[in-house]
Each structure stands twice: as structure tokens, then as C-alpha cells.
Symmetry: C2
């Protein structure tokens, strides 16, 4: 299937999802916890995931789907289109800030990356693209970020990574220009794509990084599991996205 | 002097400063380091500080001024108007991201707080006000944020605080809903004023917190030096701004 045919279905879906989410700001949210007190899900996460799944199934009946909140098809079994969905990434920010959260869809065909989509939901900026088309912010084509060294750029981190004394991340932080912590993998990936941070490291689920990986690799950034394992199987990993120079330096620090 | 007379001078100055800074995005910046490799100053920091000082001196000839980059009048000697200026707060973000930085002015009269101004420079949102007038985002009056407990909100932190094992901040982080790190005291104060974070803690200079303290206290938030010393003398301190409930809990944790 041509990427254009998939793209013309997904873009309107994501802008419709954005409209629904912005409208929900005036309503009372139903907030529940999942694995721990800071792992939240709301009625809107579920509603947006259902909206994506229903529409994708209608348009692509043979496709399989992995969604954060519900459907858990297996990537390994996929022999056609496969979608990875994070309806609201940064649910804590969505609940507490009504800002700084994203919605993400990744598209694979025969297990090959085709398209990634990250929508900054309050800004209304859609980062999208893939290996066949490049990466765009709405209608503007992005250039690959400069291949910065660790000392010359900011790095995004998840809090548990930074607080884990065995992670080496405190040393990575000290050797960088500074740490930023935005509370949403999607928003962090956007900063890396824009060259505003030179990387981002955090423990992530497949739906947190699937779209960002496709976009980042299209812009010559590296994306890897820092335990050295393969991340194509879309499992939970400590994932590092970074410029190639910073990626080398970070690995030297954490393996020292 | 009536606050309105001061306000009608300062607001246009800050919007003019914003225009100059946005125009500078298309020019090459001259970036230098100060106390360490991540403590930056640019030609624009200096130009905006000079722009503020020249205009404030012209309008208020008897006023004294403390600026981050140049003029260092002493607060203790002030017997008339006293201005505290941070032309560009978050210079690293200004340089690396062209976003997430602020410009700030605090106004004292006979050493009493009168007005605070924090401009989110890329958003063009001016947070301003003081004890006589309340706090506004541009033309919209802000309500005091909910008096959240630590477990119910996000907290902003400076990296050195979080990495210092004697600070107790790792425990504060774990008991909160999560940590955010935006890299600019002004931007962090804005999040607290909006109720998007319940607090912010960092080692700060007078120009980093003078305006934010006036605005935060006007909205019933607490601002204190966490070593228990007085912060009215406008020296460098580890400063905590927080809801009253969170402030109590954070002090219990760091004194435990």
C-alpha cells in the first residue's frame, strides 16, 4: 500500500482527535490510576484510542493494532499493516496542565516502518513522515538536526533514570548543557526532532517510542535500547534517541 | 508613586524587548560563558538589560537598579524605587531552543514589593501584577491556584538540587506526581502561577526570583529560602515557591 493512501486517512483522524481532546477541557475528567499512583488513564485516553481503532479498522480491515489502553495485537505476527497507538501521551500533563501532551500513531507494513505521527495536542503541531517522505512539522519539511556532542546540547530524561544511581545518567547530565524534563515522551521526541534537545532517554513502552523512532531515524538520529538489545520487537525498554555523536558519548559514560 | 504610573512605563518596555529578541532569531548570536560552561550570556542579554536600564533611568531618575548583567545597586540602600532586572532568564534555552525563556522585572518602592513582571518571550504572554492589583496573564486575571498537597501535583526543580543527595529533593520528587525541568526560573514560576505545577525549587539569584516572588505571594503561594533565612535581602538562595500545603510537606521531608 502506498504511504500516501495511509497518510490521507491518518492526518484527519489526528486533527479530529485533537478537537475532541480540546473540547474535553471544559468537562470533568474521569481519572484512574494504573500500575502506580502516577500512572494515569482518563476517559479521554480510552475514548481517543477507541476513536482511532474504530476508524483504522473500518478503513484497513486486515490491519493489526497495538494500543496503549486496550487492543494488544502482536507485532511479531503482523503480515500486513500494523498500527501502534498512544492516544494521549503525557496523561499526567494532560490532567494537571492541559498542555505538554501528545497523541501518536506509528504505521508498519510487513513489519517495516512506514510512517510516524506525533501531534503536540495544544499547539496543534503535527510532526509526521517516514523513510519515503522525510519529516514535516505540519507543512514545513524539517532538516536533520546538527550532530551535536553531549557537551553542546540539552538532554531530556525521565525522572527514574536520573535518580537511579546505577544508570550513569547523573554523569550524562553533568556532561551535557543541561537536563530538561517535559513529562511526555512525545513532547520529548518533538524537542529532539527540532534540535532543541540533542537526545532523550527514558524507560518507555512500545507506544511511547514507536512513532518517534520512525521520525528520528528518518532525520539521521539514532534510537536504541541502551541495554544493547533489539528494539524492533516493540517491548518496554530504556530507550535513547540522540544525535550520533552524543549517542557514542552517552554509551561510553554508562559503560565506564 | 502610584503603581499605575510605573506599570504604564514597564509594559511597553517589555513588549519592545520581546520584539527585539524575536528579531534577533534571524541573526548570529554572540555567546559567552560566565561562571561555568553552562552559565551563558549573549549580546542580546546585555542589549536588553541596557535597553531596560536606559529607559528606566530616563523615566525614574532617582531609581536604583539591580541587573543580572551589569548594574549592581544595593537593595539595602534603596529609599525610593528599586528595579530588579533579568533581561533573558533561561539563556541556555534562548540559545539552544529559541523558546522557553523569560524576561523579568521586579519593582520595589521604599523596599516594599509593588509589581512583578514575567514575560514568556516566545508565547508573548506577560504575567504581571502585585499586592495592590492582583495577578494577570495579559488581560486575564488569575485566580489563586488550589492549595494542592505534594502527592497531588507536579514540581519543578533545578538539576543540581535534584542530584545533590543531601538536599532531600529525590524524596520530594518521589512523593510528588512528578518532576518537571524547564530550564528557566521565569518559565517555572509561570507554571506555578498557572497551577500547572504546585511548586518549584532551585538555587536562584535575586533577579531569578524577585518578580516571581511578588506575583506568587499575591496569589497566596509561599516563597521562602529553604535554609530558613530571610530572602528579602535579595541574595542567592535555594528558593522554594509552592502551595502552602506542599511547602509544609517539603520542609518536613528535607528536615527529616
Amino acid at each position: 500500500m502506498k504511504w500516501e493512501e495511509i497518510d490521507e486517512i491518518i492526518k484527519p483522524l489526528m486533527f479530529d482527535a485533537r478537537k475532541k481532546v480540546l473540547q474535553s477541557f471544559s468537562q470533568q475528567l474521569d481519572v484512574q490510576t494504573k500500575s502506580n499512583k502516577n500512572d494515569l488513564v482518563t476517559n479521554m485516553d480510552k475514548a481517543i484510542e477507541k476513536f482511532y481503532i474504530d476508524n483504522l479498522h473500518a478503513k484497513f480491515p486486515k490491519a493489526k493494532i497495538l494500543g496503549e489502553e486496550s487492543q494488544k495485537d502482536k507485532f511479531e505476527d503482523s503480515t500486513d499493516l500494523f498500527f501502534v497507538i498512544d492516544p494521549i501521551d503525557g496523561t499526567m500533563n494532560f490532567v494537571k496542565q492541559k498542555a505538554h501532551f501528545a497523541s501518536m500513531i506509528a504505521v508498519f507494513d510487513h513489519q517495516k516502518p512506514v510512517l510516524g505521527y506525533i501531534m503536540d495536542m495544544t499547539a496543534g503541531e503535527l510532526y509526521w513522515g517516514g523513510p519515503s517522505v522525510g519529516v514535516y512539522r505540519n507543512f514545513e519539511k524539517l532538516q536533520a538536526p546538527s550532530n551535536l556532542s553531549l557537551a553542546d546540547g540539552l538532554i531530556g530524561m525521565g525522572l527514574p533514570m536520573l535518580l537511579n544511581p546505577n544508570s550513569g545518567m547523573a554523569d550524562v547530565a553533568r556532561q551535557s548543557s543541561g537536563v530538561r524534563m517535559y513529562g511526555s515522551a512525545g513532547i520529548e521526541f518533538i524537542h529532539v526532532l527540532n534540535g532543541e534537545t540533542l537526545g532523550y532517554v527514558s524507560k518507555l513502552h512500545a507506544w511511547d517510542y514507536a512513532a518517534g523512532k520512525i521520525l528520528a531515524e528518518t532525520l539521521d538520529l539514532t534510537v536504541e535500547a541502551i541495554d544493547g538489545t533489539d528494539i524492533n520487537v516493540l517491548s518496554s525498554k530504556v530507550v535513547l534517541v540522540a544525535t550520533k555523536n552524543a549517542q557514542k558519548q552517552i554509551n561510553e559514560i554508562i559503560n565506564a
